[in-house]
Subunit: 149 residues, 4 copies
Amino acid sequence: MRCEINSGKALSAEYEFTVRFNEVDSMGIMWHGNYVEYLELSREAFGHKYGLSYLDDIYKQGYYVPVVKLEIDYKKMLAYGVKACVSVRYIPTLSAKICFEYEIAIKSGNGAKEIIATARTTQVFTDLQKNLVLDNPTFYEEWKEKWLS
Amino acid sequence: MRCEINSGKALSAEYEFTVRFNEVDSMGIMWHGNYVEYLELSREAFGHKYGLSYLDDIYKQGYYVPVVKLEIDYKKMLAYGVKACVSVRYIPTLSAKICFEYEIAIKSGNGAKEIIATARTTQVFTDLQKNLVLDNPTFYEEWKEKWLS
Amino acid sequence: MRCEINSGKALSAEYEFTVRFNEVDSMGIMWHGNYVEYLELSREAFGHKYGLSYLDDIYKQGYYVPVVKLEIDYKKMLAYGVKACVSVRYIPTLSAKICFEYEIAIKSGNGAKEIIATARTTQVFTDLQKNLVLDNPTFYEEWKEKWLS
Amino acid sequence: MRCEINSGKALSAEYEFTVRFNEVDSMGIMWHGNYVEYLELSREAFGHKYGLSYLDDIYKQGYYVPVVKLEIDYKKMLAYGVKACVSVRYIPTLSAKICFEYEIAIKSGNGAKEIIATARTTQVFTDLQKNLVLDNPTFYEEWKEKWLS
């Protein structure tokens, strides 16, 4: 319930990746800490798709959006060379936060998918001096107005 | 409640680190994904202290202990060069899991500490073919017997 | 001169990448150590293109190919979000080594390119017990026969 | 010859490290790209020892010192959990550069050492707008005067 409100719109994006040699640990599977980067890359894909990118849309408005909460549930392992996909979904919220849910999966040719992990992140707004901003920035209100209403 | 039972013993360890140049992102603070490595390093410190290390104690018994759940709450930021400390605490559980809680903090000379982040992880047991092991391995039962009773 | 012989064939591949948020250091540019991963990814692209991949072609024949020499010359900086391309070129050699040269560049729409860095690597063969193999493995001789003659 | 002049003084520092679980690749040895970070950490140890640290001494004077050349020769492999040491030696030069040589080694109790890798880096000076500075900055001249003469 932490950061969810009802909304008719579902905003989502996808980021495909292939497990790199140096991301694999001595178990022969992608090290669990390396998932965090792919969550971020899917957020970037989302930002580019919907005009909410770190650099062009958020930083230029005078804000940082640090991650304040991260949760990952690992269900399967990812071997070197495997191609997987992060699906990221925007979770609308009234408070001055940006919330996402993620699903990392391997997709088969026939449309089936095997879920590897799920995750959730929460970001807040700070000004460029890194002070927390408690009210929704105007540009973010307008962004929500544009995409969610 | 996920993985806690009562126990009179508190097993814990500490791992000190200094934020590295290449761990800092373009905000000038430690990138949130880099915390995961320090959680692992504190688990290693714990393993060395209590005889539960990945290589010598767990792998040699025929097990891997992959992380299946990770949660981090980020409360403050960490700048380049800052010295911080992870305190890791073992959370006893009846099921075949290894659960830890973490606190990352900056400690002042006078004993005061500033909490930077808190975290929780859950690990399960697999055999070396990476099949989930649902029962507590004998060596882990004995380890718990030794340290917790 | 270290590892070059004459050959009429030029084997090369390319790998495009976009500088990630967490690859950028507090200077706001890609941390110099992160280039190493992109060299490797271009080698992988090469391996897939020419049938010399780590897993399917080399490891299955019973060999590892550890990097024994790495040289990088950094000429320009790479900012967050910039799209760049690694061009990797195979450098034929008589000895039991795999040598590559690299050029990392930003390509403009008009075909112009700005060179960011150049690099060279040398890899040797070991067996799966990690003992150095001084003679060219048969599969590698055949590979060179196929592609270079 | 690139960046060496005669000097009676040998300035050097050491940085000890233990190979981390997530630094090891699927060969079970430290991934070759991860050595770069330990070179940097030894430079930091050097900077702290001799008053030439990135943040307190160089950045505050208005300079960055990006690495423009990196060379590593890998001679042995490093397994997970192994303790090794980087020895870094300052190589005096007349031009506006900072040059270091490195030796990564495993030291035995009896004083013997096994050399794992050697390396060399060259850094230049830029101003905070990242423009190359061709003349030795005054603070660096004074630093050399203090330590080398």
